[in-house]
Subunit: 364 residues, 2 copies
Amino acid sequence: TPPTFTDPHQATAFLRQFHQERPGAGGPGPRLRQVLDEIDRTGTYEHTPEELAFGARLAWRNAARCIGRLYWRSLVVRDLRHLSAADDIAEQCFEHLRLATNDGRIRPVVSVFAPDRPGRPAPRILNQQLVRYAGHPAPGGGWTGDPAGAQLAARARDLGWKCGEEPFEVLPLLVQERAGARPEWYEVPDDAALEVRLTHPDHGWFAELDLRWYAVPAISDMTLEIGGVRYPTAPFNGWYMGTEIGARNLADADRYNLLAEVAGRLGLDTSSERTLWRDRALVELNVAVLHSFQEAGVTMADHHTESERFLKHIAQEKRLGRPTPADWSWIVPPVSGGLTPVYHRYYDPVDPALRPAFLAREPW
Amino acid sequence: TPPTFTDPHQATAFLRQFHQERPGAGGPGPRLRQVLDEIDRTGTYEHTPEELAFGARLAWRNAARCIGRLYWRSLVVRDLRHLSAADDIAEQCFEHLRLATNDGRIRPVVSVFAPDRPGRPAPRILNQQLVRYAGHPAPGGGWTGDPAGAQLAARARDLGWKCGEEPFEVLPLLVQERAGARPEWYEVPDDAALEVRLTHPDHGWFAELDLRWYAVPAISDMTLEIGGVRYPTAPFNGWYMGTEIGARNLADADRYNLLAEVAGRLGLDTSSERTLWRDRALVELNVAVLHSFQEAGVTMADHHTESERFLKHIAQEKRLGRPTPADWSWIVPPVSGGLTPVYHRYYDPVDPALRPAFLAREPW
Ligand code: HEM
Ligand code: HEM
């Protein structure tokens, strides 16, 4: 057991913050001594359930790229640290999706599975998100499905998964217990992956495009780091902001790339960029996304409203004497940036060393 | 004469770069000795016409916020360093506008007037741009004209200028010869301020809004600094990118704020942000701007095309072994950011100490 597996300075800083922000918890002294002793003996330490919940919420509050932080206190934290078998992880990920979906009234949830321990790295989910669509090069050129799901689809097929031929095939969940081990794969049950069919309030033909998207964006490839302890398997979700689907997933040239088709159906003049046909098609695609989620009763924020909320969050934090580090280029929405109040200001600087945090996961 | 008025290190660095990038000019040795001696004797030095032209173009190439840098070599540099009387400056600013307008085929131009010298700060133009519109609070609440032009309009009125009551009244040019001196004001001649009336290709009613904008954006409140020498009066212009007018000047809540009116005329449902009425009105406003400049034969770039050009510029500079520092939040257009290729990448970091540069002008 290398005694420095979990950094005692990180542990100390986190516990101090925990006791400072939650005065009911008393002074940090006794707990600090206990934790440092535990690190001394075992190389790491175990969070109390309260520390875990606080740490996860703080990691959200600290997420400089996230516009949705106003509700950081409401994050539902599922303590699943006792689980590290692939079957159990998959089962609980599907349960996560059901809880988060909540019949359409989306709840922000994080499920925290076993952490990395000395000599025993935690198992990992290989998917970028718990629900995402497969993609593969189409026989005639171009793509079927989501190019962002191509790598995982190929890997799942190698493992024996049979991929359908439709453009919106939900990928199986791939869980790998150890570096180099063969990943297990699990079909996402229908009742865990709510999807919304896309229609447009003014254009009947839009439904014929046969588009849809899933209700819950649950990121599953980031490591949650709290007080020096790393949880590489801690999928979390909020609700969607419409532009993530309408301006990126369905519009980006290296994703579903639908602007030309939508523009064609709208009868726009695509002979020159100056007609702004791309911009017009983009707006109508986003109108369809917001309209369809509304009709389906699934929580979704538009970028104007979510921008207002974020400024409210900053003001609230400021009253509490806290900065809100934010990354302008991630906060400003990809549609009509200049129309949103978040465009017209600067933010507290981002500190990559800030913890607790959700971090890009390192390779095994 | 304080001998350190012009920093000899800045002078040296600039002259080295000049001689390095223009090998035809020979080694920097003799010129360096001459300049350092001149600084020693007079506190500053005089650029050769070639150094001035090179330095101004370099300042454009270095402008981290500018998406239009592909054509930096083509900048027309007018050497007017012998002029420092208000009348002469005004006359030559109007001549600048005529040259830049060029019957609609806009040319990038900079006019360099007298620099700051030891004990003799240069005169200054008080306007933000050579052509801009006046604004004043309207009697019934709200604004007439451009709120961004309110301060200068008030100042010009104090000096005796008579402001009309229309929403697009061109401000007079204010030139101040010395700190504390009474500024002189000059009506911009009609033939120096080409304007474009705005119409929409599909909506006849758009013309009834009676909107227009001027053809040449000529920034007049930045200091051009080259090799330690400061030129506080060096107005420069490019051509417009449509979004500057359609998404900022006419759309911003603290500028002409026209989105609600355009949305009303378009018959959009403004009862909720979710209908994206703002985004739709924004696109149509921008369509009108691009269409109208095209019809009037006035050069204007759309944000898609200008984004492509900027990536071409970066590639070209890279082949020459040079970085292209860029400020993401200024480069990405305020409309459909995510649709432009400039959105999907990072840039070489910005160094505020980089020179030559156009800088925010310090107060007297
Ligand atoms: C409640 C509604 C939420 C909304 C509307 C929201 C919105 C967003 C958006 C629009 C992004 C940028 C995504 C992109 O451009 O790829 C983002 C990023 C992020 N959000 Fe949120 N979010 C929400 C909840 C959450 C929650 C619950 C967490 C964690 C507990 C979280 C943590 C993050 C993180 C870590 C990122 C950066 C992801 C990365 O680096 O790829 N967010 N969020
Ligand atoms: C030729 C066509 C040009 C185009 C399309 C163009 C485009 C732009 C745009 C869109 C901005 C951002 C403006 C804003 O958001 O307020 C900008 C900023 C800037 N441009 Fe250009 N530009 C052009 C020519 C020039 C020239 C000729 C110069 C100097 C010689 C120049 C120097 C700058 C500088 C210094 C800024 C930053 C201004 C500030 O800090 O407020 N540009 N440009």
